[in-house]
Symmetry: C2
DNA sequence: GAGCGCCGGATTGTTGACAATATCGCTGGC
DNA sequence: GCCAGCGATATTGTCAACAATCCGGCGCTC
């Protein structure tokens, strides 16, 4: 990328979008953003183009940029891809895990259990992200990690509503435990299988949402 | 994207890079490209940024763009991802295939067989791409297709050298036949497995290259 | 003769202004 | 009262010029 400030602006705008500060389909007027992020239109445009390449915003000719609205159907497609990629990552993590990694993962699981017990949904959701992230770091698979980051960004909106489905933490906690068990046992195949099972259940939850949404 | 000409320039430049007209690490001087593609620097820059987002070129601050050199290690990572994604796509294709699709796939296989018999390497390589492409179209999985296109673009260079490995077509032809057989039999699991086996063998070939390259 | 610093050309990064286009409200006709 | 056409305004798309930076060659010193 030409400039370094572009990256900073892109990152700031990304977090703003992900935090829901800009709603899907909301127009992103360049001048307003320039003011907010104290950047020139040139820089801002470059940042927008970056985010467009990552699927967070989309351009319409002569109508500028808007926050891209990913449909539930698309979220399902993305999850189907994630199942495979996170499976790969889990397998690699099982091959490469060290003892300090093991301690870290077990600690995370313990905290997740506590969060579920105390019904701290937000905390659980946060730990969930941390766990997946930690496994990705252990795997050290740059290509998969980059793609997963992108895909996850596109579905944050749904991840939130998923975590609100009653009973979701209760079903996903043991799955996470199974994943960590297989990864720490250095069993790539089991790890991949456990991760796939976990995300398959996420996929099922999405499909349920999708059916629920149909007959409004 | 702002303009439509940007997309055209990006596409032209992409094919130029993929065809090897610009070598890895070769500098892409903006003015020269402007002249060649009859575009303003503004447009050209936007196109470059696009290609950078797709991993085909990379920027170095104040030193402009150059063709990105993907290492063999990276090609291996990419293939590991492709194994999973193409597996997903094959499974989906098996679920959705129609009769006319079936005829099309079988025709492609027949041509591949002929190409192998006559030792037409280039033709076989071309048909190979067509087959994978056809399966992707049947699957109609936009998310996976987009990612695969990107990943494939990054590895074209290696795909060429792979097809020159002696005996490669002989081993990959039956694998392709197995994939088509499973997909046309509408058996998603078999299709995914067959595709994975096929790409695993590609991966093995890459690893062999990588070892051969080590002791220079 | 080798190394170091300086200068000039080449190339990229950035800006502000201008042109093109869409959006929206207004006016007038029916 | 409503719709079509039209003009004003807001916004984006593009450009050409300017500033910043890097690269290579030159001379100077030791």
């Amino acid at each position: 990328m030409p400039t370094d400030s572009k990256a900073a602006v892109a990152q700031a705008l990304r977090t703003a979008i992900l935090s829901g500060e800009y709603a899907p389909n909301q127009r992103l007027v360049e001048i307003d953003l320039c003011e907010r992020f104290a950047a020139s239109r040139f820089i801002l445009r470059a940042a927008l183009q970056d985010l467009a390449a990552q699927g967070l915003v989309e351009f319409q000719r002569n109508r500028g940029a808007r926050v891209r609205d990913v449909s539930l159907a698309e979220a399902i497609e993305i999850t189907e891809v994630r199942i495979r990629l996170e499976g790969l990552v889990a397998a690699r993590a099982a091959e490469r895990i060290t003892m300090s990694d093991t301690a870290n993962l077990r600690h995370l699981v313990k905290e997740m259990r506590a969060a579920v017990e105390h019904s701290e949904l937000l905390r659980y959701s946060e730990l969930n992200a941390q766990l997946h992230c930690a496994i990705q770091e252990i795997a050290a698979h740059e290509t998969a990690a980059r793609l997963l980051r992108q895909l996850r960004d596109q579905t944050v909106r749904y991840q939130f509503s998923l975590s609100l489905v009653p009973g979701r933490p209760a079903t996903s906690l043991p799955q996470h435990e199974a994943i960590v068990a297989a990864v720490t046992a250095k069993d790539p195949e089991q790890a991949e299988a456990a991760m796939r099972r976990h995300l398959e259940s996420v996929l099922t939850a999405y499909r349920a949402l999708s059916i629920a949404a149909l007959p409004r």
